[in-house]
Symmetry: C2
Subunit: 452 residues, 2 copies
């Protein structure tokens, strides 16, 4: 007897299961229809997008009980495996015994009709059972593990940088303050981290390759489809590596993850391609099959100037030193290169203090990876490893003293090192074609909203 088989495995090993073998399944009812002689239940346990079909008959003593079970009810049955070649599903299970069940109230919000994503956001505690959120969370798990596998294979150590911190890596963006009874709990103001990078550098300068992968926070009040107050970020940091080295790793990491998800979550990606974005698989294959391009910021500005009229940008004021807007980034990757492209060597004024100053004294060794439909997916840089140059960049900061330990790292055998960050939830959106970050996080936190 197969005990507590999950439905994913049942499909995976269907060919090796003998006809009439007894199997046990658990799950929640997605559909239950019957006439006076026979009934059919679609059962799903969240391990796969596919339901398993259960069959019961009017001659069964439990016919009445089963026929009354509403959508959303829990059911645990023992049954006979029966191959059904030629039918829509490859097998069905003839129920022999009800091991356990739990009925569902009739105000269950996930009835059979299609629901829009706004409605589902309001029932975040239930929406894991919907097809879309089921698929999202399986891909989320798969993508997170793909990142781990790739980095572990390349001798990166997973480190846990602190969430509560007294400094702010970017110097930008509102921060959440952390207190107890409105008082400081530590010896100074404490905030939720916006990036683990500075701490990760300390460890890269001890271990070579490291990565931090955990939650980060932004207290921005923007209500866009790509911003959340809390999201996971992957931040690898590599000693002995320059900008070119990390660009190689970024390209290999992105391609590895996409390939891995396409293989391990084929059903889910097919689902997203069918119901969310018909262009999805083509888009992902385009990433896989092309070598990423590379262009300097200065060249990008030239291209944008040349095309400003034709492209009809909202922001037409193109000049060297400007911050690129998403419309500009998308134009470059979608219309000019038609594939992912690294933009390198940004003006130092629009990038963070820790990026390494180039010889021109005007630009820093930074790279942003732009991808079609999204714009920036990855941001990285070589880190300023020269004590004097870094000191000059930070000594006017008001919280300069809090960065002394960071400056210290440049005194004790510092070396060329570089790192990058990938917003995990945004990468998940990219891979699934989902358009709103609130629809890929199961309990999203955005300004003014913390229902669950």
């Amino acid at each position: 007897m197969l005990k507590k088989n999950n439905i994913k495995k049942l499909y995976l090993y269907a060919k090796t299961i003998k006809d009439k073998q007894t199997v046990i399944v658990n799950g929640w009812i997605k559909a239950n229809r019957h006439n006076s002689t026979i009934g059919f239940i679609e059962l799903n346990d969240g391990t796969t997008i596919k339901n398993v079909q259960l069959v019961y008959k009017s001659t069964d003593i439990f016919f009445n009980e089963l026929s009354k079970l509403l959508i959303g009810s829990f059911l645990n049955v023992e049954g006979i495996f029966k191959r059904t070649e030629g039918k829509q599903q490859p097998f069905e299970i003839i129920i022999k015994k009800i091991v356990d069940f739990r009925s569902c109230d009739n105000d269950y919000p996930l009835q059979k009709q299609k629901h829009n994503f706004e409605f589902l956001r309001d029932i975040a505690h239930i929406r894991g059972r919907s097809n879309t959120f089921g698929a999202i969370n399986r891909v989320r798990n798969c993508l997170a593990m793909a990142m781990h596998f790739f980095l572990q294979k390349h001798n990166f150590l997973w480190i846990h940088t602190p969430i509560i911190t007294s400094n702010d890596a970017e110097g930008a963006g509102e921060k959440f303050k952390v207190t107890v009874n409105n008082k400081n709990f530590f010896d100074c103001d404490a905030f939720l981290t916006v990036s683990g990078q500075l701490h990760a550098e300390s460890l890269a300068l001890s271990f070579g390759n490291v990565y931090t992968f955990g939650p980060t926070f932004r207290a921005e009040k923007s209500h866009t489809t790509t911003h959340a107050s809390e999201f996971w970020m992957l931040e690898p940091e590599m000693a002995f590596s320059d900008l070119k080295d990390i660009m190689k790793i970024i390209e290999r990491l992105i391609k590895f993850c996409i390939k891995y998800v396409l293989k391990e979550c084929k059903n889910e990606i097919d689902f997203f391609n069918n119901f969310i974005d018909n262009n999805l698989i083509e888009k992902l294959n385009n990433v896989l099959n092309n070598k990423f391009a590379c262009v300097t910021y200065t060249k990008v500005i030239e291209i944008l100037k040349d095309n400003a009229f034709k492209a009809n940008f909202e922001n037409k004021n193109i000049f060297w030193g400007m911050d690129l807007q998403t419309e500009h980034e998308r134009f470059i990757t979608e219309k000019i290169f038609k594939k992912p492209v690294f933009v390198v060597n940004y003006p130092k004024e629009i990038k963070a203090f820790y990026m390494r100053l180039n010889r021109d004294n005007k630009t820093v060794a930074a790279c942003d990876l732009l991808v079609p439909e999204v714009g920036e997916l990855v941001g990285g840089s070589q880190r300023e490893d020269r004590y004097d140059v870094l000191k000059k960049a930070i000594e006017h900061f008001s919280d300069y003293r809090k960065l002394e330990w960071y400056l210290d790292l440049r005194k004790y055998g510092c070396c060329t090192h570089s790192g990058f960050g990938i917003g995990f939830d945004r990468f998940l959106m990219y891979i699934t074609g989902m358009k709103n970050i609130r629809d890929v996080q199961i309990f999203p936190r955005v300004h003014g909203h913390i229902q669950y």
Copy 2:
């Protein structure tokens, strides 16, 4: 030529490397001694506890430069691989070319002598390069991945439960409050999570097996060796599973992780056994080689009463309904069972509201795993799955309304489900023999202290 070989790999593949082959190594100088004709450098790159020995000679044009490099300096050299059978190290590298180097200031705090852990805590940004913290962080990575591997193999999905939350799973322990400019950012008070369990239950009731693995927080002012304000916790949650099922999984998970670390981090565990706890490997093997015992709380109270005089507890007032202290837990696992032991069915008054009430109406279906030298390592329970019973348990809470979604889960096809939590840093302490949580977290956060 072997490019950018890390030192761990160099040792791993030493037997396949040909004599006189050119290799390139990066790392930091641990020792540099020389006489007038020859010099020796011990180089380490953080990938292994072992240094590689570099040799340079007075006939080399870079002899003077190299001989002046202090401990802590960064060095990147090309050299000739030379087998040295019979010597302490299996090979050495004869330096042919200095590719890059960066000297270290002479106030480098990690000189050759032994440092105590308190001193090292004050140089947290540097201590990753010490032998102990090098080993800790490699075991940390290994243990975290062992957990992932075990759970992924058993079809658990890694989910990301929110860090910012409006409710408090345990109802116990001070919480950190999250604000922006001292005002609420969300629609109600917001706190840092003490546990992802309640949210994980929502997903277990959609996907079957899930786990959350991320940071959790306690704003307790206790300055003990086992408490930190921020620590990682692993919390698996399983639908279709009762207390007995999770006890089986806990035992298998603990044993798998220990076995995995013993195999993958052999050098590190040997180091801890030699320098931190001479009993470590014996202790870990004792866990591996014994089936965990199981005893009820009621029986534990009987045993403690019978032994109160002999054991000379600090807390001698033993009665049914009391919370077990660490001294009691350690007595049970060390003196009575001499191996890990599950204590089950605790009085409902001393356990959390979400644990399933047993038929006796006095105890709940909870299990704590006690292990020698530590006491409680894992806490788990079957969850209350009956709407009316749970409602009665929470309706007097002041923040009852915030738990309505949690109660809701019992209306819509709820089922038997159970889960448990393992403090990751405490498990890491157990596996390494380290005695203070501040010495296993690279940047620990404790009351009044947030230097880095």
